[in-house]
């Protein structure tokens, strides 16, 4: 197959994926569905007379059409000084766990029941939906430069959605956990959900104004998302990242460090190579507030005249683009309890609404919060509703009051601590 793509141009690449998964679904506290999924697909890229083309198919028998399509695409493609990489070793990282790959469905069902029980113990009127998915995914990348990279992973993901309705008062949580190693960490994830429900029983009022705002790991993506966009090599090359042309400068508070770390064992975002066969490596992008790098794929690096960083990621139907493997915001020195104890009157942000909406790359944010708590006299006193926070990370992260020792994985591939900003604008109904 690769040979056939090679015949049409001077460079060729074939990317194949195969995955199998089993998903157990609970709805309204009860076991509801059992789903098996088999996925196959192939994508080709070819450079024909210097021009790059792309084609994909989930029908692996449609070989002739794929070849026709990639040639047609290359004829119209841009001339790009891109070279598919030669075979080079990448870091060794554990992302396949046979115990997880073969976890029997009855065990998944047990885990789901255990999760629901723990949530109901915190609040018996809660309605809980849980999906547990175990998957084995294998991707094979081969190119005309001789690279052949097989990445096999066994991710387990757990989605928990909780709704609690009392009159017109609704508390909704949507939480996501993932791992590529068979361990007990999901239990901590579940106890944090239970804790949020317990704290959400009491309500509190807060008046608008400037105040200290503490972002929990599930709240901090509000601050991290503009960083992810700003550190994306494509946005830098295009000149729309506010961090473009500022490499080496101190942009943020010394307490802020951001890593791209594909070498972490047991994380679904980790791997030895990216989806273009480039070896991955751990790298600091923001080091104690100073900008030290961006993430690039092959094409963007070629356009920008820089080196690829092993961050080319792709779905089946899209050409690769730059993406973090695991985004890790460095933990700090203060225990979260101590941070809370030091707040006289402020807000704890647990769940922002509308994440990713609006003008994210500018760094400005203004979001309603679906779950937030009032902190008073150094303690969490109750849930605040109808509240929104607004700011601009390029100003607000220049002065971070505290970063916690504790940190958590959220949305699968982002590890975040608690982060305290000492003055942020909070608008409430009260």
């Amino acid at each position: 197959m690769l040979e056939r793509v090679m015949q049409v141009g001077e460079q060729a690449e074939l990317f194949e994926i195969e995955s199998e998964s089993t998903k157990i679904g609970f709805q309204a506290n009860k076991l509801k569905s059992f789903e098996v999924e088999e996925t196959q697909g192939m994508a080709a890229r070819a450079v024909v007379e210097g021009r790059l083309g792309f084609a994909a198919s989930s029908d692996v028998t449609a070989v002739d059409q794929l070849i026709d399509h990639v040639v047609a695409s290359a004829r119209l493609g841009d001339e790009i000084p891109l070279c598919f990489p030669e075979s080079r070793p990448g870091p060794e990282v554990q992302i396949y766990d046979a115990g997880l790959a073969e976890l029997p469905p009855p065990r998944l069902i047990e885990m789901g029941e255990e999760i629901i029980e723990a949530v109901l113990e915190a609040d018996e009127s809660a309605m809980v939906n849980v999906d547990l998915t175990r998957r084995v995914r294998e991707s094979t990348l081969r190119n005309s430069a001789g690279a052949e990279v097989v990445v096999r992973k066994s991710p387990l993901s757990i989605m928990v959605a909780v709704e609690r309705v009392r009159g017109d008062d609704v508390l909704a949580l949507f939480e996501y956990f993932s791992t590529a190693a068979l361990d007990e960490e999901y239990r901590d994830f579940v106890s944090r959900i239970a804790e949020k429900l317990r704290l959400g029983r009491r309500s509190a009022t807060l008046s608008s104004g400037q105040m200290p705002v503490l972002f929990s790991p599930t709240g901090a993506p509000l601050l991290a998302l503009p960083l992810i966009h700003g550190l994306d090599g494509k946005n830098v090359y295009r000149g729309i990242s506010p961090m473009a042309r500022r490499a080496g400068e101190p942009i943020f508070d010394e307490k802020l460090s951001v890593l791209d770390d594909p070498t972490l064992d047991g994380r679904p975002g980790s791997s030895s190579h990216d989806d273009e066969g480039v070896p991955r490596r751990r790298k600091a992008l923001i080091d104690q507030g100073r900008l030290t790098g961006f993430v690039y794929d092959l094409k963007t690096a070629a356009l920008a005249g820089t080196e690829p960083t092993g961050n080319g990621e792709r779905g089946l139907f899209s050409p690769p683009s730059p993406s973090f493997s695991n985004m890790v915001v460095g933990a700090g020195k203060t225990p979260v309890e101590e941070i809370i104890a030091g707040i006289d009157r402020g807000l704890l942000v647990e769940t922002p609404l509308g994440l990713g909406q609006g003008n994210v790359i500018s760094g400005r944010f203004s979001n309603n919060l679906s779950l937030a708590f009032k902190i008073e006299g150094g303690e969490i006193v109750g849930r605040v509703k109808d509240v929104s926070v607004a700011g601009n990370i390029y100003q607000d992260l220049q002065d971070i009051a505290a970063v916690s020792v504790e940190s958590e994985w959220v949305y699968g591939g982002i590890r975040l601590p608690y982060m305290l900003l000492s003055r942020l604008n909070v608008v409430t109904k009260g």
Partner: protein
Amino acid sequence: MRERIDAAVRSSKADYTEIRLEEGESTRVSFRGRDLETADVAIDRGGIARCFVQGGGWGIATFNSLGDLERRVRQAYEGARAVQAEPIELAPVPASEERITVPLSDDFRGVSLADKKSLAQEYNEILLQYDPRIVDTHTTYSDTFSRVTFASSDGTYVEEDRPMVNVAFSAVSREGDNVQRAFEAVSKVAGFGAVQGHHHLAETVAERAVGLLVAPPVQGGRYTVVCNPRMAGVFAHEAFGHLSEADFVYENPQAQEMMVLGRRFGGDILTIADDGSIPGLRGSHRYDDEGTPTGRTDLIKDGILVGRLHSRETAGKMSEHPTGNARATSYRYPPIVRMTNTFIEGGGTSFQEMIAGIELGIYACDAFGGQTALENFSFSAAYGYMIREGELAGLVSDVVLSGNLFVTLQHIDALGDDFQWAEWGHCGKGQGGLPVSMGAPHVRIRDVLIGGE
């Protein structure tokens, strides 16, 4: 193919069995700035078998290889048996047999990839050349043509062609640290002609992106807000529509109490409905993905909650009628309760009358996005204007509406005489982007929380 599908359905030992196959081809041309991101054609084929067993539950198998359908039915059946769920009753629907084709004048499948690229490039050039402060653009052309075949053990067999053609323009402007963007799109169940001739729309996007650079961010606070039809349509879908999906209430007594039919949700002027049977809209199909015929469902009529959206399962459980709202994003997913074309009915107030009495307010236009946590919502307007002393004043940026649904619906006090369907709409519930339409007139809402610094 039909024989193979029928044979596979017949081979099932389950109480209910369905198979849905999808075979499609899509084209995409995408420019970022001066660079072509891709001009490509993708082939997508796959299917899903879904079984239900009394005393068991739902079993589902999804796949790409369309070879051995009986094996897929077996996998689904075994899944269904591995589950012990509560008894499920599917509300009955009449068996249908139909082959639905969509006549396209100027079928995009007959247009060359080169011509599609040229069209996207023309639009992209308009954005790029408008002003040097436009630092980035994203212009895409895309089309997709898929044939979906649905067969169930209740005797329904429907084959439907699903064509769609789209163009989307986005421009990013920058001056120092100030970065702004603007977006417009056209999406139609139509041929290539439907996406030609939108040069003026591309220019509007460029103009707005540059205009927003000097627009001050809105001052946070509570305002009277006039939503343009596109913003109001997103509001109807996101803030209210999702609560009227029966899968939210059918197993949750507290939620049923909150959404009890007969409850007053708004003033007499307010009517909100969903209708999957309006020809040519993005959310329209003759049948939903369970083979139920689509139609109009009033959700709020004259301010009172009168209906909700159902699948066969939620309707069966609540002893109501299926409404044709069981939809799936693709063969990767079982159908769940989704909206089709959701709208706020037009009223009698002209735009001028609507803003006339407002001393200090905001005209919120289009939505970058919206998200709700049931009764709480947050919407980012793509752009907005201040309203001062009854007239539109300057452009403002970073307009985010947030609030509580129940309170906000009660605060709707005027509906425009200018109903419109948006040209673009996606719903992200559970399974990611499913085409929907949203419609509304201009809508005036008193006392809305606007975030801001």
